[in-house]
């Protein structure tokens, strides 16, 4: 389950920010390791909503620091 989410997230990261799918592993920080800036995080949140049906409110988005944080959030909130 979390592998599927990780793969889907990796696709989004490649499309939006050019991150190689192999680099999109749970421990990676979006800003520190993957060079994803704040505007791209907004795009990623929109793409996550489209792909997984999970909306990420702005205050939650600020707490999502790593790929693993995003996977957990999606898992927790998927219907």
């Amino acid at each position: 389950m979390s592998e599927d989410i990780q793969a889907g997230l990796a696709e989004i990261l490649e499309e939006v920010a050019g991150v190689a799918p192999a680099d999109a592993t749970p421990e990676k920080s979006f800003t520190e390791d993957l060079d994803v800036d704040s505007l791209s995080m907004v795009e990623i949140a929109t793409a996550v909503e489209d792909k997984f049906g999970v909306a990420i409110p702005d205050d939650e988005l600020a707490n999502i620091k790593t790929v693993g944080d995003a996977i957990s959030f999606i898992q927790k909130n998927q219907g």
Binding site: V16, A17, L39, E43
Partner: protein
């Protein structure tokens, strides 16, 4: 030749245009007489009065990384492509110029229209939460200048003149001043435009400013010709690298031409119509000549703004005749490139510099039957074939809606 701190030279050139994806292919196509104009095949264009455009010869997607491109409006993509070519061409990156001494002046006439209109569609169809977070940086008119600044690592100031179709030329004048006032050591200057979209097309057509010769695309842009009926919208960008002559010589840079002087005036006549005798345009040319310390007889060549509109071309002919005289060889290169609006002055400066360097004056295409206007008849407008000639100084002039007039004087290296 001795140099002073006022001497500014051109050490790099870049362009992506309807004639080619770089300077060399653009210049080759220009001299070969090729046209960049074609008829739109999009469904939306079917009922448009004017259906002609001069589209880019090279898709920006083939020249710029995908992830980088998706954060840049098309006008910013082409600006970056042209500026990176000019920057590489100049060799300035290897000269160790401090980033605090590198400046950018890059103009646009319209700005990020494709982003503005595209995101408005998103807003209407999907709502405000789906509008891209890159909308504002992609549509702001200083966006191309900022993108160029990031591309070359310029931290000495980034500026964005906006004066409609004079924007590109105004950027060059501004760059000259920055160097003369020692505000920077290297300045990347230029102009960009990419607004082929139904709304700008409809707006210009509503002004009756565009050619409707839809069945003969390559013959539609015909400056100074009796049968001209408006301009053809083009897209693209061009860039120059400017430096003071002393520092360019010190690093052994190749100098393509000198930027000897510039003049800027306003018509103070009408928001869009040019003064019929080109009074403001003539004053701009006169000011540029005085700035360069040259007299009208020194000028061998004029790359005219000449957009192929009925009133604009005759007003400009009058201005050239009064400020330069009848001896200079005149070219109207929009006959092949179409009108690149905010990029026009930069692209035509590239052509002016290459004409000086190569000692060849491009021909004006489609000038089959020159207008009966006395000034048009009096000028030596080069047509049919490019003309080899010996000359040391040339003028490029540009005018924009709003009554903006810019003239630039270039001399041989």
């Amino acid at each position: 030749m001795s140099t002073s701190d006022r001497d500014v030279v051109v050490t790099g050139l870049g362009a992506t245009t309807p004639l080619g994806g770089d300077v060399a292919s653009t210049w080759e196509a220009l001299l070969a007489g090729r046209s960049g104009v074609s008829r739109l095949t999009d469904d939306w264009a079917k009922d448009f009065p004017a259906q002609l455009v001069a589209a880019l010869a090279s898709d920006p997607a083939s020249q710029i990384d995908r992830v980088r491109a998706r954060r840049l409006d098309r006008s910013q993509q082409v600006a970056v492509i042209a500026a990176e070519e000019a920057w590489a061409h100049s060799g300035a990156a290897d000269a160790g110029v401090a980033s605090e001494r590198i400046a950018v002046v890059f103009g646009t006439g319209i700005g990020g229209a494709l982003t503005l209109l595209g995101q408005d569609d998103v807003l209407e169809e999907k709502g405000p939460k789906r509008v891209s977070p890159f909308t504002i940086p992609m549509l702001m008119p200083n966006g191309p200048a900022a993108a160029v600044g990031l591309a070359v690592g310029a931290r000495g100031g980034v500026h964005a003149p906006v004066s409609a179709c004079a924007s590109g030329a105004e950027a060059i004048r501004w760059g000259l001043d920055l160097l003369r006032f020692d505000r920077a050591d290297v300045v990347i200057v230029g102009g960009t435009e990419a607004c082929v979209h139904p709304l700008p097309m409809a707006g210009f057509a509503a002004m009756r400013a565009m050619s409707t010769r839809n069945d003969e695309p390559e013959r539609a842009s015909r400056p100074f010709d009796k049968g001209r009926d408006g301009f053809v919208l083009g897209e693209g960008a061009a860039a120059l690298v400017l430096e003071r002559a002393g520092s360019a010589a010190a690093r052994g840079a190749r100098v393509h031409a000198r930027l000897a002087g510039a003049g800027a005036t306003a018509d103070g006549y009408d928001l869009v119509a040019p003064h019929p005798e080109g009074e403001g345009a003539a004053r701009a040319i006169g000011a540029a000549l005085r700035d360069a310390g040259l007299s009208p007889t020194d000028i061998g060549h004029v790359n005219a703004h000449a957009t192929s509109t009925p009133v604009g071309d005759t007003a400009e002919a009058a201005a050239i005749r009064s400020a330069v005289g009848e001896h200079a060889m005149v070219s109207a290169t929009k006959s092949q490139t179409g009108h690149l609006l905010g990029a026009a002055g930069a692209l035509e400066s590239v052509f002016t510099i290459l004409a000086l360097r190569e000692q060849v004056v491009p021909a004006t295409a489609n000038l089959d039957d020159p207008d009966d206007d006395a000034a048009v008849q009096a000028l030596d407008i080069v047509r049919r074939e490019p003309r080899k000639a010996s000359f040391d100084a040339a003028v490029n002039d540009s005018f924009g809606f709003g009554g903006h007039n810019i003239a630039l004087v270039f001399t041989t290296a």
